[in-house]
């Protein structure tokens, strides 16, 4: 934390006018993504045809695409999609709210934090699906029980990251607030919370991925009222693997999209963090 100049990094950019799109393309990461996807697709297309694996279990890429088209034509799964997505959304919101609250309670009280941690770790190590029958008992057979399961699965990183984030402000920052006689609440809202936001956002994004996992696991392994998880299980039991991979692809695309959206939001919410600044330029 001194006033020295930025770290010396060998910046080798030529003093020529700005790079052409081709240079930018080659310098960027897009071509790696495209190449990787192309390699995966090529492998996916040709490997099953070698006969080294069972074609039923590992259909080629084109067969999967055909299944995907068939699925899109079916249309009935929109309902499952809606069920899964709404469960993910609700679980995510509740999980984030719950994790955040826990993080605040334990993050602002070292005493509570040390006292509760052993229980938290024990619960974290528990395969949450074993709780499914109990949750159904309490919450019924509707989406509530699977949402509850997903909440239990996804709140953890938000909690941890909030807890860690609240401790991030430096001694000097606390001192400034204290010298102004700021109340505990003011210290929290004006210093700790903004400082913790970048960390909290990391947890929020992780929670999004876990909410997805949570809902789908609940749909597959325990009672549920439909959803993409049930659909994959159904297709798998029919050995219609093209359809299984299609649904998995949908899940992957959805999660990447949602995380990217969360990324954009993050950059706006925590515009001041080093990470967002680095990415903006």
């Amino acid at each position: 934390m001194t006033t020295t100049a930025p770290p010396p990094t060998p910046a080798r950019s030529a003093p020529t006018p700005g790079p052409t799109w081709w240079e930018r393309f080659r310098g960027g990461s897009a071509w790696i993504v495209i190449t990787t996807v192309a390699v995966i697709i090529a492998f996916w297309e040709f490997f099953p045809q070698t006969g080294l694996v069972n074609r039923v279990l590992f259909p080629t890429f084109s067969e999967t695409v055909a299944a995907f088209v068939q699925l899109l034509g079916g249309g009935y799964w929109w309902d499952d999609l809606a069920k899964t997505m709404s469960a993910v959304a609700i679980a995510w919101v509740i999980g984030v709210a719950f994790g955040f609250t826990m993080g605040v309670v334990l993050g602002t009280s070292p005493f509570m934090r040390q006292a509760i941690t052993p229980y938290a770790i024990a619960v974290q190590a528990l395969p949450k699906v074993v709780l499914a029958p109990l949750l159904i008992g309490w919450l019924g057979f509707g989406p509530e029980s699977k949402i509850a399961l997903a909440v239990i699965i996804c709140f953890f990183p938000v909690w941890i990251d909030t807890m860690v984030g609240l401790a991030l402000p430096s001694a000097n920052e606390f001192k400034l607030m204290k010298s102004l006689k700021a109340s505990r609440w003011q210290v929290f809202t004006k210093l700790q919370l903004p400082s913790a936001l970048p960390m909290i956002m990391v947890g929020v994004k992780h929670a999004l991925l876990l909410a997805f996992t949570g809902v789908i696991v609940a749909e597959i392994l325990s009672a549920s009222d439909g959803g993409l998880g049930k659909l994959t299980k159904e297709f798998a039991s029919q050995l219609n693997m093209g359809l299984v991979y299609s649904v998995v692809t949908i899940v992957v695309i959805l999660s990447i999209t949602l995380v990217s959206i969360a990324d954009v939001i993050e950059r706006r919410v925590v515009f001041w963090s080093e990470e967002s600044r680095a990415r903006r330029k």
Partner: protein
């Protein structure tokens, strides 16, 4: 032409609610058309009954929720029901829905074992640890003098999904014992299986409406009406089986999704159900097979020391069968004839 005693016919009379735990991840499977038809055609509603069908996950989970009291009734398969009865849980079957081979023993066409008597030393695939078929399998092996614990190796390989196909395909197992439903996908994937199931197992009761003694005492009226509605739905389907297939397609389209060879698992299962759901006596739909049940319970009991002896009549309640069959058959037949197809 309405039946003499139709409790739901008079308006203003009390309505009942029932939660029915279905033993699957989905609310219906291709063979549960009796319940589906009664529900879609409004027979339960007519009887003053609001039935909520919920997917409990599987037979064990459905049985669990019924015992826990979270569901009034459920349709776990016979082994789950039997197992609960044999550990002394107060479960009762009030209506037998289907009977016949639910579990079987299969071998690949060109496999090394072609009869149960040969199976000493075999790796035998089962659906999962504690799966319903295990009792049948063990009994069948014992009958041939093979000890199921020491002489063979039981390996859970799933219920007909990709892991099952892989296990059969790469020779991890040479025999597969599972529910009949589970082998359709395997067969259409190119593994031809031979059915070695002993004939006697094909007569066992398969599935019924299961409840607890407690619910029976407290909610008997609702269950009685539920039995009649279900009987009406079954009768409808027996009158017009294609209508039921159509209803099924509307309810669970994904099951009727065709694979690359143009085969749908839903159709295969539906065909099998045609033989299993048909009651022995069309005028006594839901009638229990006491002897068969006893034989079945004894069979399972023989596989473990921790089971208690159970008398079949104690877990079979036939007080609702008369009432269930006392409906206007002509009218249901007319409904069946007038059905309009929607899902093709």
């Amino acid at each position: 032409t309405a039946p003499a005693t139709d409790p739901g016919a008079e308006p203003g009379e009390e309505r009942y609610e029932i939660t029915m735990a279905m033993a699957s991840g989905d609310t219906y499977t291709a063979e549960w058309w009796g319940w589906l038809a009664a529900d879609t055609l409004g027979y339960y509603d007519e009887l003053g009954l609001d039935v909520e069908f919920v997917a409990a996950g599987g037979s064990g989970a459905a049985m669990e929720q019924v015992i826990a009291g979270n569901a009034d009734a459920g349709n776990p398969s016979a082994p789950a029901f039997g197992e609960a009865a044999l550990v002394g849980l107060p479960v009762v079957n009030i209506f037998t829905y289907s009977s016949g081979a639910i579990f079987g023993i299969f071998v690949p066409e060109d496999g090394p074992f072609q009869s149960i008597a040969d199976m000493r030393g075999a790796n035998i695939g089962i659906s999962e640890a504690g799966g319903g078929e295990v009792a049948f399998l063990e009994a069948a092996l014992r009958a041939e003098g093979i000890d199921p614990i020491t002489d063979v190796q039981l390996i859970p390989i799933g219920d007909g999904g990709p892991e099952t196909l892989a296990a059969l395909d790469n020779g991890s197992v040479d025999v597969y014992s599972t529910a009949y439903n589970d082998i359709f996908a395997i067969q259409t994937a190119g593994v031809n299986l031979i059915d070695l199931t002993p004939a006697i197992y094909n007569t066992f009761p398969a599935r019924g409406i299961i409840t607890t003694q407690d619910t029976l005492d407290n909610n008997g009226e609702a269950l009685q009406r539920f039995a009649r509605g279900t009987a009406m739905g079954m009768y409808f389907c027996l009158e017009n089986i294609e209508a039921c297939r159509d209803l099924m397609k509307g309810a669970i389209p994904q099951v009727f999704e065709q694979n690359a060879d143009g085969v749908s698992q839903g159709d295969l299962r539906f065909e099998l159900a045609k033989t299993q759901v048909v009651p022995a006596d069309i005028n006594r739909i839901g009638q229990h097979d006491v002897a068969g049940t006893q034989e079945f319970l004894d069979l399972i009991q023989s596989t473990s020391d921790s089971y208690i002896a159970v008398n079949a009549p104690d877990v079979l309640f036939d007080g609702f069968i008369d009432f269930a069959n006392d409906f206007d058959r002509d009218r249901v037949a007319a409904d069946a004839a007038a059905y309009e197809f929607q899902n093709d």
